[in-house]
């Protein structure tokens, strides 16, 4: 006889919609609650990001909410104990805020640059950036410098939008998709949804990746490239496309600078810049009118190829001619790059031609009428359905900026951007190339006490004058972003902050605030040494720590909190208000501009506060102008009040939905006091769906650009001409050559780097670290990726996720391992120029032969993350980070230089070379090991039973 199945008692339950925060995808979630406990988290079917699905992390959010690593109260390092000992005393929020306010007031009224404020995986950079700007410190950035600034900068200096959040493949129409170096830990749900859509429709999926797991598992073709060679591969594909004359002539003429004329006066000031008219407009050669014409105009018929003599007698050449000369060179022939890339020449040629076939023989035409920015009507939209996507495998190399530019070069040649089946922009992108936002670099403003910066600390330099340096060329930022060392460091260099601040290079900090960033463990390069730096004292300064005061804001007991002088405990994402703003890292999709909120679903059960509330509080106490009324009283009651009422410019605020006094306006409108309620009513997100005529070709789409200008996405309605050839890069190169009419570097190292790496056309060079280490001695490339079910979520403390993986292994190619006499589960030593680690091996087929890799951030320090001391994450798990240096290997006669992309400052943590050997018998367990973190006050509330039986329902069982 069948047992009776008991169904849920829905009357006892409540359903609320909010936004996930287990990673950076920010999917919509539908949360079922019962008695203040989470019963079920599922995807929100109506949400543009995830359309109902949800990944493993999202569902495991329950176990994050009930994590025993949650901080419970503000803590102060116990007087008399040393930093890193992890001995703390509870203090009240009032005390904590007083201590911090006093300290910050002092800094702000003397030397605001003495405050560093760096944030990790936060999703509110619009607020943190505003806060730093109002404080008056240039020393602010988020974690983009070690995440993906190479991709962002390459895109924003080439096509006006970029991989990651500023664009997405058009899964509805793409027929051919190449994924470049996308680890399986990236853009969780959207890529999975898309890949299935693509394959279901019969599209081909090619993956370029040294490792075949995750997304790459389901690729139709796997190109196991050697790490760091992607740019070379892309340029070889460009070679093939040019050689077979497979490029979109019309697209190049209309929407790119391929026809712009470049001055050819080597060795002279002005060489390599565009030929411009008296209005500073770039010129082309019009073959109809046989005259030089404005390259921004609509009524032109430009020559794509050719050399001409300018009216002033200088020789000029089209960008396209320069490209043909460079990339048709036999250097880039598939057979000549095959060995370096580790791929058959045949594959390179074939894939380039397959793309060309799809682009030009399987074109999509949608009957959508649209008007271009020059006012001409089109009766259809033409799509060349080749889509691409790229991520960390491109970004985390010191040649990644150019590699990514090379990929955009393929897209431009194929005319495969922002049309059906392409990589398409997500609002507020595309933007002018580069976006019209310069980093604050006025030294007087930066040094002025109690004065906000006039511009945000981060931006997009276009020439040496935009650098953030003093009159002697010294960096004004603690991370040396926008200095001659890394001129286009648009996301800052968070990975250099602790090193530079410890070395007082370029100067000393007083207080460092780190929010949600595990810089003492898995989010830093060179972990063991960084921990030592945090402990380091300054003998000249009365034994103060080199970084005198360290404030850490986190929700969990991470390895980083252990070094804090002051710990401010944050809430979980289910306990607070949040907004995912179009001013920030948007959740827009190609077909809609979107933003979202979170609001508290669960009552707080401990003495913690959302960091955004604390920031608003501090801003009010410190009387930041934007947070203070003219009469000196605070302007915003709290964070929700701030979000609703703050306007960046009239009508433009953090949230784009239900604006206007009556809540009827979208994208722009007066503040609406009921805005939060409207969002909550509407499942916590807002999507502005683009009408068909505004969906495509937005870089030159009149109707779209008008809306975009009105909403503040772009300054004004003007064509966004894509840049094969980047003039800003050439200006920096000229400065390196001593041919620039403006600031020039006085250091030989900087000059060489500018000359070598600031090529205005995409180039490839051997990754910097690899130029300096002995490749015979260190024969392997070493990489990491996060497993899909832990991406961005740091969640080895999550009791469900850690059952899937509680230890990481070093993976290597099975044949290679066999040759070396290494078997599964052997313990091995892995050594780089920076140090060595011991770890356990697993062999596999799907790893390029010269590459080894592991799962990142599985290894934990003993006692961290609410785990017991014997957790296998700590005893057997390991970090590769110890092997990676934040500085390049020393070179005689040269100052120590950051191990980063020389253009953007992107941390080059994929450039690592290592050697490995089998450990002696009896050598087991991971190494190095660290002291056990001590339990924090408040930890006694957690039981950590040997058997956990989570059940959200108050149902009577049996």
């Amino acid at each position: 006889m069948n047992a009776k199945i008991k169904l849920e008692n829905h009357d006892a339950q409540e359903i609320k919609y909010t936004t996930c925060y287990m990673c950076a995808c920010r999917c919509g979630i539908k949360v079922t609650l019962e008695d203040n406990k989470v019963r079920f988290i599922q995807g929100n079917r109506n949400h543009p990001t995830n359309r109902g699905v949800l990944c493993a992390k999202g569902s495991a959010g329950i176990m994050k909410q009930y994590s025993t690593a949650k901080l419970t109260q503000p803590l102060m390092r116990k007087p008399g104990t040393e930093r890193g000992d992890g001995i703390y005393e509870p203090i009240s929020w009032e005390q904590a805020l007083d201590v911090l306010t006093d300290r910050l007031e002092e800094i702000r009224s003397t030397d605001p640059s003495k405050l560093g404020f760096f944030t990790g995986r936060d999703q509110m950079q619009a607020l943190t950036g505003l806060w730093a700007q109002q404080f008056g410190t240039p020393n602010w950035s988020a974690h983009g410098g070690f995440c993906s600034v190479n991709m962002a900068a390459a895109g924003l200096y080439s096509i006006g939008f970029s991989f990651w959040e500023f664009g997405a493949p058009d899964w509805d129409y793409a027929k051919y998709f190449i994924m470049w170096g996308v680890a399986e830990d990236h853009s969780s749900n959207p890529i999975k949804i898309g890949l299935e859509q693509l394959k279901r429709r019969g599209g081909k999926f090619v993956t370029v990746n040294p490792v075949r797991t995750g997304y790459s598992a389901i690729a139709d073709e796997w190109l196991p490239i050697k790490p760091g060679m992607d740019g070379l591969l892309a340029m070889s594909m460009v070679h093939v496309l040019l050689k077979h004359e497979q490029f979109d002539y019309e697209f190049l003429v209309r929407y790119t600078n391929a026809s712009w004329l470049v001055v050819q006066t080597p060795g002279q000031v002005g060489d390599g810049l565009f030929l411009r008219d008296e209005n500073n407009q770039p010129l082309i050669w019009d073959i109809e009118k046989e005259a030089f014409k404005n390259g921004m105009d609509g009524e032109i018929a430009p020559a794509l190829f050719g050399e001409y003599v300018a009216p002033d007698g200088r020789r000029v050449k089209t960008v396209m001619s320069m490209m043909a000369e460079r990339y048709l060179d036999e250097r880039y022939a598939p057979e000549n790059v095959a060995l370096e890339c580790g791929l058959p020449a045949e594959s390179i040629t074939r894939i380039a031609l397959e793309m060309a076939h799809i682009a030009f023989k399987e074109t999509i035409e949608l009957p959508i009428e649209w008007t271009d920015v020059w006012g001409r009507k089109h009766d259809k939209v033409v799509g060349r359905p080749v889509a691409m996507y790229a991520m960390r495998g491109i970004a985390a190399h010191s040649n990644g900026f150019h590699a990514c530019r090379a990929i955009h070069m393929i897209q431009m040649l194929l005319g495969a951007l922002d049309a059906p089946g392409n990589f398409r922009a997500r609002a507020p992108y595309p933007k002018p190339i580069p976006p019209h936002q310069l980093p604050e670099n006025n030294i007087d403003i930066i040094n002025a006490p109690n004065t906000p910066l006039s511009r945000p600390p981060l931006g997009f330099p276009t020439r040496p004058e935009d650098l953030v340096i003093d009159e002697f060329g010294n960096p004004l930022r603690i991370d040396k972003a926008y200095s001659w060392e890394v001129p286009i460091a648009s996301h800052g260099l968070m990975h250099m902050v602790i090193t530079n601040a410890t070395n007082h290079d370029p100067y000393a900090l007083d207080t460092l605030i780190l929010f949600m960033a595990n810089m003492a463990w898995n989010s830093t390069m060179n972990t063991a040494n960084v921990q030592d730096m945090l402990r380091q004292k300054d003998e000249e300064n009365f034994g103060e720590y080199k970084i005198p005061f360290l404030v850490v804001i986190d929700a969990f007991h991470s390895e980083m909190t252990n070094f804090a002088d002051l710990i401010l405990p944050d809430t979980t994402y289910l306990e607070r208000h949040d907004c995912i703003s179009l001013l920030d890292r948007p959740i827009s999709e190609p077909d809609s501009a979107a933003d979202a909120i979170r609001y508290p679903l669960i009552k707080l059960d401990r003495d913690v506060r959302p960091w955004q509330e604390v920031m608003v509080e501090l801003a009010s106490r410190l009387k930041f102008p934007a947070f203070t009324k003219p009469d000196g009283t605070r302007k915003y009651k709290d964070y929700p009040d701030f979000i609703v009422n703050y306007e960046r410019s009239p009508g433009i605020g953090f949230l784009s939905g239900w604006r206007g006094v009556d809540g009827t306006k979208s994208l722009k409108g007066e503040p609406n006091p009921k805005q939060w309620e409207k969002y909550i009513e509407n499942q916590s997100f807002h999507a502005h769906h683009w009408p068909d005529n505004q969906k495509y070709m937005r870089f030159a789409n009149q109707d779209y650009l008008e809306v975009a200008a009105d909403a503040g996405f772009v300054g004004k309605v003007e064509p966004i001409i894509m840049q094969f050839y980047s003039e800003p890069l050439q200006k920096f190169r000229l400065a390196g050559q001593g041919l620039y009419d403006g600031p020039q570097p006085n250091n030989q190292v900087d000059r060489e780097r500018l000359v070598k790496y600031f090529d205005p056309l995409p180039m490839w060079y051997e990754p910097l670290e690899q130029q300096r280490v002995d490749k015979e001695k260190y024969p392997f490339f070493a990489l990491t990726q996060r497993p899909m079910f832990m991406y961005h979520s740091w969640d080895s403390q999550n009791v469900w996720l850690r059952q899937i993986m509680a230890q990481n292994y070093m993976y290597m190619n099975a044949r290679k391992a066999a040759e070396m006499g290494i078997k599964d589960f052997d313990w091995i030593w892995v050594e780089s120029h920076n140090g060595k680690i011991r770890c356990q091996v697993k062999t596999m087929e799907g790893t390029q032969e010269d590459t080894i890799w592991t799962w990142n951030a599985i290894g934990k320090q003993k006692g961290a993350w609410g785990l017991k001391d014997n957790a296998s994450e700590a005893t057997k798990g390991f970090l590769l980070n110890h092997l990676i240096s934040e500085l390049l290997p020393e070179k005689s006669g040269e100052r120590r230089v950051t191990n980063s992309d020389p253009v953007t400052g992107q941390a080059a943590w994929f450039d690592l070379r290592v050697r490995l050997w089998k450990a002696e018998p009896g050598e087991a367990g991971s190494w190095p090991q660290f002291d056990t973190l001590k339990a924090l006050p408040g930890d006694e509330r957690y039981e950590r039973p040997d058997v956990l039986r989570y059940d959200a329902r108050s149902h009577e069982k049996n």
């Binding site: 850690r802 899937i804 993986m805």
Partner: protein, 312 residues
Amino acid sequence: MHPAFSVIFFTVASGAGFGLFSLLFIADVFKLGGGFEREQLIIGGLMAMALVVFGLLSSTFHLANPKNAWRAFSRFRTSWLSREGVFAVLFMPLALVYLASIWFDAPLWLRETSGFLTAVLAWITVFSTGMIYACLKTIRQWNTPLVPANYLALGYASGSLLLLLGAVVSGLDTTPYIAMSALILSIAAVLKAIYYFWISSPGLGPTINTATGLTRAKVKLLDTGHTHGTFLTQEFGFQIARQKAGLLKIVVFVLGFALPGLMLVWVFNQQGGQVAAIVAVITGIVGAAVERWLFFAEARHVVNLYHGAQRC
């Protein structure tokens, strides 16, 4: 398969008990070696029942939720485990009737009928025990008629050695008992040898290819999806090294068959008498226990294919 002590003890003890009881009945009917006295029969029968009861009790130790053990009789129609339980429980009253009929000098028809039925039930119960394993298509090493045959042969071999000890202690003519033991031990040894031969070649069973349906190329496990053990690895993951298994097989034959056989010769030659019989019982039962341990240890459940085994 994980060799659980409770199950090993259960099958060895209850097998010996059932074997002893059945053979006791035969010895009683045919008055072998002069026949046991009434008290001796009762003691022997109770000892056999005790072995069965201890075995059954021990088997409940491996139940995670023994309060529902009583339900185990409900699926007699399909489950060999249920059948075994039912037969084992039916055996008890019948065995008591038989012993009572001996004790109270009941009419011969009652004594012989109840004894015969008890013996048959004992046989069926041991057969059912064997079938618990033999019916599983998931374990190649078990899915063979040799398994119930082995269970029966070993149960009766252990029983016969116990009976021989009884005969020696009781001062009966041991020749028929030696003959019986020798015969059963020989059969058991031969069956065991055939079994070991049989399971040594994998045959055409499931492979990692059929388990995954990926039949066109070599398939290897990359990751099980859990770092540490699960119920499945704990229950089915046990694996014994081939060399160790070979060694244990020698132990099975030496302890389980050769030494008891040798002891039979000693008993026959009147050398040592009781001691030799005791040694025979002990070695025989230890041998059976080793055999039983190996029976589990060598069994490879097909779920191991999903954990990377190429075949089971």
